[in-house]
């Protein structure tokens, strides 16, 4: 037993005999205070514990069941659907195969081979590396399908872990890949709609409400397949196309080839296959701009009559000389300038128009600014600065050179040209029925009607004959431009060929722009490398296949009103 210490310091005080100085009343009073405060402290502790209980209930009950099951998982992402409700992108819970390398029982090599047999797309070397990885846990493969997961479970290896994780699925694979974009490894949008609408798609309050695009999956599919076919036939480097509703500005289809599978995007965004040639690529689109120059002249009054004639002899501006590809050797009427795609004629029209008004029209058509579409991959148009917009620029821009825009710019401008003259900014979101994107008038109804007639004869009589889809009253214009060489200047052997048009020309609803980058010619079709030979057939095939889907009836008896240009051109002998 240790020596007894004084019970309190008071007892230990020298000279004090505790009982003699102790006042029981004082001690009891002090004890009373202590007891009172003790009970108050106890009540405070009760309150704190109840607070913990409240917090526990809040955490356990307030979280929605989905969040409870996968609290650490990324937030759900809303679906993306086309205008008719076809699912273009959706989220589901995939399986991911992981391993706890330290827990592997048995031969790692045999295990690696067994996993590789179930997941052949995963390189054996990567599986082997994961099994020998020095960490408590590592992933072997993401996006494991249910049957594969079952087979992996059947291996009976306790070190293998199958985890569910949210995954983005693009049910149509590469369909509209550039427009939809894809999601990165952590589920964040990396391109296209997925990137531009990241906030909207991940908003938890709207995750059950799909994002509705203006795209029509059927039209998109046709556009992609016809472009792919033509690209192959012409051994072209790339192809692109866009279908737009001329009345509303809605984009119905947007294709760029080569494409990628959004389910396995791979690589970095700098690959040629990840280039959105419709919104990001800018091209000198050549003769397809000529109808715009004609309409500008008519709107500005510098072309007073469609019967006015324009010379076709060569034109020199400084050190440039402007010539026609197939000189007619006689003055041409306005419709003939388009039918024969006369550079000299449109240059003369531009000269009459003047740089000031040319710039004004181009700006109102949206051709000087990045295209106003929702996705973020947008190219800056290339054009001379105001100071250097001299005579040479004025004339060359008149026939489509010296200015580079995206194919979507061109589609938007053509929609303005044929829909009665109102420019609606392009959109990829479905508009409520009958409510176009608010537009701005650029051309008068009369100018638009004349442009429709001339675009129609440019197809029937001019360079766009192979674009004519029987019965669908196609109108449009070819464009063949030499590709710029990387070092400067132009490459005579390599073209960008374009066809921009609309149908049905008597009441235009749809604008289609298709483009080939460096077609090498199809020996079976004569080997020509002009737009009329290389891309016009693709336009026809697209129209033939999408018109029935879009509810446009073929009618060989109908034609747009051509009275205003009657007698101004010579009809081709049929």
């Amino acid at each position: 037993m240790p020596p007894a210490w004084p019970a309190t310091l008071a007892e230990a005080r020298p000279g004090s005999r505790a009982p003699s100085v102790r006042l029981p009343g004082a001690r009891q009073a002090a004890l009373g205070v202590a007891r009172q405060r003790l009970v108050i402290g106890l009540l405070a502790f009760c309150a704190l514990i109840l607070l913990l209980g409240a917090r526990l209930v809040e955490l356990a009950v307030a979280a929605p069941p989905a969040a409870r099951a996968h609290a650490a998982a990324a937030p759900a992402r809303a679906d993306i659907i086309d205008r008719n409700g076809v699912v273009l992108a959706t989220s589901y819970r995939a399986m991911a195969l992981g391993v706890r390398p330290h827990d592997v029982i048995g031969d790692r090599e045999a295990l690696a081979l067994a996993i590789h047999a179930i997941l052949p797309r995963r390189p054996l070397e990567a599986i082997r590396a994961a099994l020998h990885h020095d960490a408590p846990f590592t992933f072997i493969a993401r996006r494991v399908m249910p049957d594969e997961a079952e087979a992996l479970r059947a291996l009976g290896q306790p070190a293998l872990v199958l985890e569910r994780e949210p995954e983005r699925l693009y049910p149509h694979g590469a369909l509209a890949a550039h427009l939809l974009g894809f999601t990165g490894i952590d589920g964040e949008g990396a391109m296209g709609v997925e990137r531009a609408f990241e906030e909207r798609l991940t908003d938890p309050r709207r995750s059950s409400e799909p994002l509705v695009l203006s795209i029509d999956a059927r039209v998109q599919q046709v556009l992609e397949s016809e472009l792919a076919r033509q690209k192959e036939r012409q051994s072209a480097e790339a192809a692109a196309g866009v279908v737009m509703d001329a009345e509303t500005g809605e984009v119905l289809a947007l294709a760029s080839l080569p494409a990628f599978d959004a389910n396995a995007p791979g690589g970095l965004a700098g690959l040629p296959s990840h280039m959105n040639r419709i919104t990001l690529g800018v091209y000198e689109l050549g003769s397809t701009l000529k109808p715009l120059t004609v309409a500008m002249g008519m709107e500005a009054g510098t072309i007073r009559s469609l019967a006015e004639t324009y010379p076709t002899s060569g034109l020199r501006v400084g050190r440039h000389s402007i010539r026609d590809l197939h000189p007619k050797g006689r003055p041409l009427t306005v419709p003939e300038v388009l039918i024969f795609s006369s550079n000299v004629g449109t240059a003369k029209m531009a000269e009459a128009l003047g740089a000031e008004r040319q710039r004004m029209f181009l700006r109102r058509l949206g051709l000087l600014d990045p295209v106003p579409i929702e996705i973020l991959e947008k190219g800056r148009t290339l054009h001379p600065s105001e100071a250097s917009w001299g005579l040479a620029s004025l004339l060359t821009i008149g026939f489509g050179h010296g200015i580079a825009v995206t194919p979507l710019h061109l589609a938007s401008a053509y929609a303005t040209l044929v829909n009665g003259g109102v420019h609606h900014p392009a959109t990829i979101l479905r508009r409520p029925a009958g409510r176009a994107v608010p537009g701005e008038r650029v051309f008068s109804e009369e100018v638009s009607a004349a442009a429709r007639a001339m675009l129609r004869v440019a197809v029937t009589e001019g360079t766009g004959r192979r674009a004519d889809a029987p019965g669908y009253r196609v109108g449009g214009k070819t464009g063949t431009a030499e590709k710029p060489r990387p070092g400067g200047g132009y490459d005579r052997g390599r073209n960008i060929t374009t066809f921009a048009g609309a149908f049905p020309m008597d009441a235009p609803r749809y604008v289609v722009v298709v483009m080939l980058d460096d077609p090498r010619g199809d020996p079976e079709a004569g080997g020509g490398r002009t737009a009329g030979a290389t891309i016009a057939p693709a336009f026809r095939n697209v129209v033939l296949r999408i018109a029935p889907v879009l509810g446009v009836r073929p009618d060989p008896a109908r034609e747009p009103d051509l009275s205003m240009i009657a007698g101004l051109y010579q009809e081709r002998r049929r």
Partner: protein, 388 residues
């Protein structure tokens, strides 16, 4: 207990006297808590083992449970042995121990081992000793012994004296640095001083001083600032507590069932600081609340017994030990539930760890020893007429 239950009231043997005088409901509650703690560590052990394994050292899934069984056995033996001491002997030993622990604490900066930028441990053969864990219950006894003098002679300057001791301990802790334990000790001391009659004005002044100290730590220590910023703004390193919240959310009211938890594998310290989150996931919010209530009932039992106590030292020491126990549990659970900034504080008798387990056992043993008395004699003036 079978033998003990056969002890007669008239039996004057050592064990019999212990059995009839010890606070048996409290002992039973503590044993229940220890049992609960073993189940919790069993659930948390695989997650912690997986986390701490690497290619060189493979930790078996139930390694921490096996270790905890050892600590629980040692802790139980220590607690029972201490509880069998006579009150005076227990106090004497505690006071002597307090001095030893103070010396050990002072020695830490010189002979301690550095872990994560803080020097808190002394490496003993096969065992890391954290002196502050041992000091905590002993410091409470020391303070109670000093402060109890006021009850008989309020003129004695025991409050400044013990405050000086507190300042010494806090200063030593700031050297390590270990602000969490320092804050806990200051809070416990302030509560005991309040019980000993420190004027309420000074009590609140002390609270204010604590806030000033916190602000000072925030300004001077980037570590403290990071923790507090993370808590207030939800930015910085909230990874740990976010994973803990995932556990509670995954568990719901009824839990995933033992062994079925998955969120626990993402916890950084499943077996020590975040064992409460493991309970939340596998056994559910109701069981987690039941554990919180068990701590409350233990405190309730101690306080209700102390109200009947006539000895100032017993009252102060008992209240201090219970508060230290309860406050530590509350802080740990609050951190798990993201109600307080992240703080290295274990859950008494539940978290894995030798130092804290044995220290808790020592503290509870002392509490049991101090509260031993004849349960048939009521001391409280509230329950019987005061002698004239």
């Amino acid at each position: 207990m079978g033998d003990l239950l056969r002890l007669g009231r008239a039996d004057r043997s050592f064990l019999a006297r212990w059995f009839w005088t010890v606070d048996r409901p409290l002992l039973f509650l503590l044993l229940a808590l220890m049992g609960f703690g073993l189940i919790a560590v069993a659930a948390a052990s695989p997650a912690a083992a997986l986390r701490l394994s690497d290619a060189a050292t493979r930790i078996p899934p139930l390694f921490f449970l096996e270790r905890q069984l050892l600590w629980a056995a040692l802790g139980l033996a220590l607690m029972l042995a201490v509880s069998m001491l006579e009150k005076r002997a227990a106090r004497t030993l505690a006071l002597a121990g307090a001095l030893l622990a103070l010396v050990a604490l002072a020695a830490v900066p010189f002979i301690g081992t550095d872990v994560n930028g803080a020097t808190r441990w002394i490496q003993l053969p096969g065992f890391q000793l954290q002196p502050v864990e041992l000091l905590k219950p002993l410091f409470v006894v020391l303070s109670a012994w000093l402060l109890a003098a006021r009850f008989d002679d309020p003129s004695l300057p025991v409050i400044p004296l013990s405050a000086g001791l507190l300042a010494l301990v806090v200063g030593l802790l700031a050297l390590q640095p270990d602000f969490g334990q320092a804050a806990l000790l200051m809070a416990v001391w302030l509560a005991m001083a309040a019980l000993a009659g420190l004027p309420l004005l000074l009590v609140f002044g002390g609270l204010g001083l604590g806030l000033v100290g916190l602000a000072l730590a925030y300004v001077t220590s980037p570590h403290v600032a990071r923790r507090i910023d993370g808590f207030l703004h939800g930015e910085g390193d909230t990874y740990q507590v976010d994973r803990a919240l995932d556990c509670f959310r995954a568990g719901g009211l009824f839990g995933t069932g033992p062994g079925d938890g998955t969120a626990k594998f993402r916890l950084p310290e499943a077996h020590t600081d975040y064992v409460f989150a493991v309970i939340g996931e596998e056994f559910g919010a109701i069981a987690a609340f039941a554990l919180a209530l068990l701590y409350l009932v233990i405190i309730l039992r101690v306080v209700l017994q102390l109200v009947e106590e006539d000895d100032p030292f017993t009252l102060l020491a008992g209240a201090g030990l219970a508060l230290q126990f309860g406050a530590q549990a509350f802080i740990n659970m609050s951190v798990n539930l993201a109600l307080a900034p992240s703080k290295g504080m274990t859950l008494p008798f539940v978290s894995h760890g030798g130092s804290s387990y044995l220290a808790t056992a020592l503290g509870m043993g002392l509490l049991l020893a101090f509260t031993r008395r004849n349960r048939h004699v009521q001391a409280s003036p509230y329950l019987r007429a005061q002698p004239a």
